[in-house]
């Protein structure tokens, strides 16, 4: 049976973070997941904390840390872990803009609404700057590409209401750009366009066509251009640099409905980093059982054709996400369970699953369901004691976060994945940039 120091289950941001840090610290780490994760349908930005009324991510973290929330013990890890992550992304040619102290601001979405963000990929960052009085926003789409309708988006963004009182462009215009050979294609998706820019053969022509269209639409006014987030995967950096150099106005990418090209860029950087550090990343592996002896996990079993295939391990990072990731499942008789280890789940009774306003600022009650953990992220049983000594629970599976409303999913995923890896890397390989504060936070608890 193959053996690993640590098995990580889940290929979302939390699992990728933990596996990256463990592999870099020299641990033998294998990440298994049944499939892709939120990376492929998120925005590619890092939502650290933007609960209602928070001014900056740091402010958001502080507000959430005061509640029953994973940030109540993870807060000290947020700054070092996010810095750690941004360093790695930048080194791989995928720089991010913003810090924990960047004001949270409203940026346009692909359906002509706005959403609140602070830390985003560089290619999305021009949307964050306050709008000048005379600035026009040109929304430029690609003819034939159905996930980004520039005229409809422009119409919607011209309405004051979608900006919720924030400053906004003086005018919004939409324009659809014809790119060579795309007219007769149906079925065009974001990946097709991203690969077209990667291949590069038509890149210069395409960019020139977009530049001409934007020039005409802007009519000499200053301003910015909103574009669908499709500008390259592997060759994103070159494509974006060429685009910035050619366009008459400063561009920004708008993340789209899934599949998310910015999220896939993020996934690729982390996957490659884990592999380069000697770790393994295996998709299509459904973990259906875990062997436990004396409260310790000893092996992870995956579904395979005819015979189970297992990995022996010293420790487990459970990064299976919440209800959406498959880390939690709801049963017909009204319970929410954690199917891999049968961990104790904190959740509201079924009667409370239905609420009048699913998007209430307080969050949906079911969103908070999950596994409670100690500050070392080890799972707690119904008796509030650690139930499995060598298991670390990270990311969306942690209880007491309402990530869609609090917009804390990425921050919790990064901070917890990073923290769990630190606890697991042996003393000899422990990395020097550890967060001492996390330890003091623990002794206080």
């Amino acid at each position: 049976m193959p053996h690993a120091d640590v098995v990580v289950i889940g290929a979302g941001l939390s699992g990728l973070t933990a596996a990256t840090r463990l592999a870099e610290a020299g641990a033998v780490v294998t990440l298994v997941a049944k499939g892709h994760a939120r990376t492929h349908w998120g925005s590619g930005g890092l939502d650290i904390a933007a609960p209602h009324a928070a001014r900056t991510p740091a402010d958001g973290v502080a507000r959430l840390a005061a509640l029953d929330h994973p940030y109540s013990y993870l807060a000290p890890c947020v700054a070092p872990s996010v810095a750690w992550m941004m360093e790695r992304l930048a080194a791989a040619g995928l720089p991010y803009a913003g810090t924990l102290d960047t004001p949270i601001r409203r940026v346009p979405t692909a359906i002509g609404g706005t959403r609140r963000v602070a830390i985003v990929p560089q290619a999305q960052s021009a949307a964050l700057r306050p709008w000048g009085r005379d600035e026009v926003l040109v929304v430029a789409g690609i003819a034939g590409y159905k996930d980004f309708w520039p005229l409809a988006i422009a119409d919607s963004l011209a309405r004051e209401a979608v900006w919720h009182g924030a400053d906004r462009p003086a005018a919004v215009v939409g324009v659809s750009v014809e790119l060579r050979g795309l007219g007769d294609r149906h079925n065009l998706n974001a990946m097709h366009l991203a690969r077209r820019f990667d291949e590069g053969a038509l890149r210069a022509d395409d960019i020139a066509a977009i530049a001409r269209a934007v020039e005409r639409a802007a009519e000499g006014r200053p301003g910015r251009v909103a574009l669908p987030a499709v500008f390259g995967l592997a060759a994103h950096a070159e494509t974006w640099a060429a685009l910035r150099a050619q366009l008459p106005l400063e561009p920004f990418e708008v993340p789209l409905v899934p599949p998310s090209v910015p999220g896939i860029r993020l996934w690729r950087v982390l996957r490659d980093r884990i592999r380069a550090a000697g770790g393994r990343v295996q998709l299509g592996e459904f973990v259906h059982a875990v062997r436990v002896e004396d409260g310790r996990v000893t092996a992870v079993e995956m579904e395979a054709a005819t015979r189970t295939h297992a990995i022996r391990t010293e420790a487990l990072v459970l990064a299976t996400g919440g209800l959406s990731g498959g880390g939690l499942r709801a049963t017909d008789d009204g319970r929410i369970v954690e199917p891999v280890l049968g961990l104790h789940v904190e959740a509201v009774e079924q009667d409370a699953w239905l609420v009048r306003d699913g998007l209430d600022p307080a969050g949906h009650p079911v969103e908070a369901a999950g596994v409670r953990a100690d500050p070392d992220l080890r799972p707690l049983g119904a008796d509030h004691r650690v139930s499995h000594a060598n298991v670390h629970v990270v990311g969306g599976l942690l209880a007491d976060q309402r990530s869609i409303r609090e917009r804390c999913g990425d921050g919790v995923a990064i901070a917890s994945g990073w923290r769990a890896a630190r606890g697991l890397a042996s003393d000899a390989t422990r990395s020097p940039i550890d967060c001492e504060m996390a330890d003091s936070a623990r002794t206080e608890l």
Binding site: M1, P2, K34, G35, H36, A37, H40, W41, R185, H186, N187, N189, A190, M191, H192, R195, V257, P258, P259, I264, Q282, L283, G284, E285, F286, H288, A289, M302, E303, A304, A305, T306, R307, H309, S324, G325, G326, R329, T331, D332, D333, V337, E338, P339, V340, G342
Partner: protein
């Protein structure tokens, strides 16, 4: 419902019902190699879970009552190559590729199969005739005008990779050798700890007996004699051409011949990842065969690399590998992924001193069994494999490796680089050791 029940439900979700798990996230569309290159196929999300909405009224097993109902909203499902990437990537566990395959079978149901699709499924017939008339057949298959005529008559693309027939089948050679040695008569057969049953399938029997010979040789070196019972084609070419009834007949014949060995504890080892996967999983999953004999042979079947790696993990593999100083581009075939056993060939290559084996990390070579042979799909298949071919050509290597026969033929035809089964590489390394030790067998032994 217990946790075990939930896990079982998620693991054993019938193919047709797994559509209910679809989140509509589009992740499958980002990984589909066919959608990447053509508009003729609407992509896994539409052909799989969306199309399934229209088929769910007809849940009866194929061939059962009610199955004459309208099969599929759209015949484009025929453009799915069956590579299985969508199923691997889906975050929700939807069995998309399997769903497409069943939908295709329904399309074919009740209509007379195209001569070509029927013919491509009759690998034993083609093989037997081909080997019998190999001098003529091999010349004919290299003859351009004849191949063009064949394309017109039966729709097999004139450039599609078709390997030469062997002069004699492996099975016949083996029988003859056994007769000479006087084995089989009287002598006691070694037990299941000293012998394995070999499933050669069609490729090693009719086209590549050298692969079978290498397997027998490597197994003997590791203390296992080989038993070669009567057998027929596993049936996969019939399954992938939607001819389930004929495939069932094949499965029954194999079960009849092999089950007594399986029940006596012998392992059934194959050198074709696609045959072994068919026996392991598709007899039950696609053909709905659940009888005792079929189950016994499914449970006993191993891919040869999986088997050797297992020996190694038990410390029983002869690791006296000789030095092979070369670059070896390796392509992991799609069928291997469906086994869920990782990449055992790469793990074994790592034991060979000097060998620089490198995973080409490309989704699919395009051929997908018989898909790329077809007139209307040849160009799609070549476009799907193009990045892989380019990488292999750019590597400058003179030999490449791949576990699956049709992929080897496709890669070899497209790149001109000799492409071998991993077992041949292991055999070569053992021989290098023998030469170094001065214990090499005389040629021809």
């Amino acid at each position: 419902m217990s946790i075990a029940d939930i896990v079982r439900e998620a693991t054993e979700l019938p193919v047709s019902r797994s559509a209910d798990e679809c989140l509509k996230c589009n992740v499958c569309n980002t990984v589909c190699p066919v959608l990447r290159v053509t508009d003729k196929f609407p992509g896994p999300k539409y052909s799989g879970p969306q199309g399934q909405r229209f088929r769910l009224a007809h849940l009866q097993p194929i061939g059962g009552p009610g199955s004459a109902n309208p099969p599929s909203p759209d015949a484009s499902v025929d453009y799915c190559s069956g590579c299985g990437w969508c199923t691997t990537a889906c975050p929700a566990g939807v069995k998309i590729a399997e769903m497409n395959n069943q939908a295709r079978a329904r399309l074919r149901e009740g209509t007379r199969p195209k001569l070509r699709d029927w013919g491509l499924g009759q690998t034993d017939l083609t093989g037997t005739l081909g080997v019998a008339f190999s001098p003529i057949a091999n010349v004919a298959m290299r003859n351009r005008p004849l191949r063009r005529a064949m394309e017109l008559a039966i729709g097999v693309h004139h450039k599609a990779p078709v390997p030469p027939f062997a002069k004699r089948t492996f099975h016949a050679t083996w029988k003859r050798r056994q007769a000479k040695a006087g084995t089989g008569s009287g002598k006691a057969q070694p037990g299941p700890d000293k012998a394995i049953v070999y499933f050669h399938g069609c490729s090693a029997n009719y086209y590549e007996p050298h692969v079978a010979e290498a397997a027998v040789w490597v197994l003997r070196r590791n203390g296992f004699e080989t038993i070669v019972p009567d057998q027929v084609c596993c049936g996969l070419p019939l399954i992938s051409n939607g001819l389930y009834e004929d495939a069932r007949a094949h499965a029954c014949k194999n079960a009849k011949s092999l089950a007594r060995y399986a029940k006596a504890g012998y392992r059934i080892i194959g050198t074709s990842t696609s045959c072994t996967h068919t026996i392991k999983a598709e007899y039950e999953e696609m053909l709905d065969m659940r009888d005792e004999d079929t189950r016994a042979i499914s449970a006993a079947t191993w891919d040869i690399m999986e088997f050797l790696l297992d020996l190694h993990e038990q410390g029983r593999l002869d690791t006296g590998f000789g030095r092979l100083d070369e670059d070896l581009p390796y392509h992991a075939p799609c069928q291997l992924r469906s086994h869920g056993i990782g990449l055992p060939a790469l793990d074994l290559f790592a034991l060979i001193p000097g060998l620089r084996a490198r995973d080409m990390d490309h989704d699919c070579c395009g051929i997908a069994g018989t898909y790329g042979l077809k007139r209307e799909k040849y160009d799609i298949a070549m476009a799907v494999g193009r990045p892989l071919f380019d990488k292999i050509t750019a590597s400058g290597a003179t030999v490449a490796a791949c576990d699956s026969e049709t992929c080897r033929w496709q890669i070899e035809a497209a790149t001109g680089v000799r492409t071998r089964h991993p077992i041949e590489i292991l055999a070569e390394s053992y021989r290098a050791m023998d030469r170094a030790r001065g214990t090499a067998e005389p040629p021809g032994a």
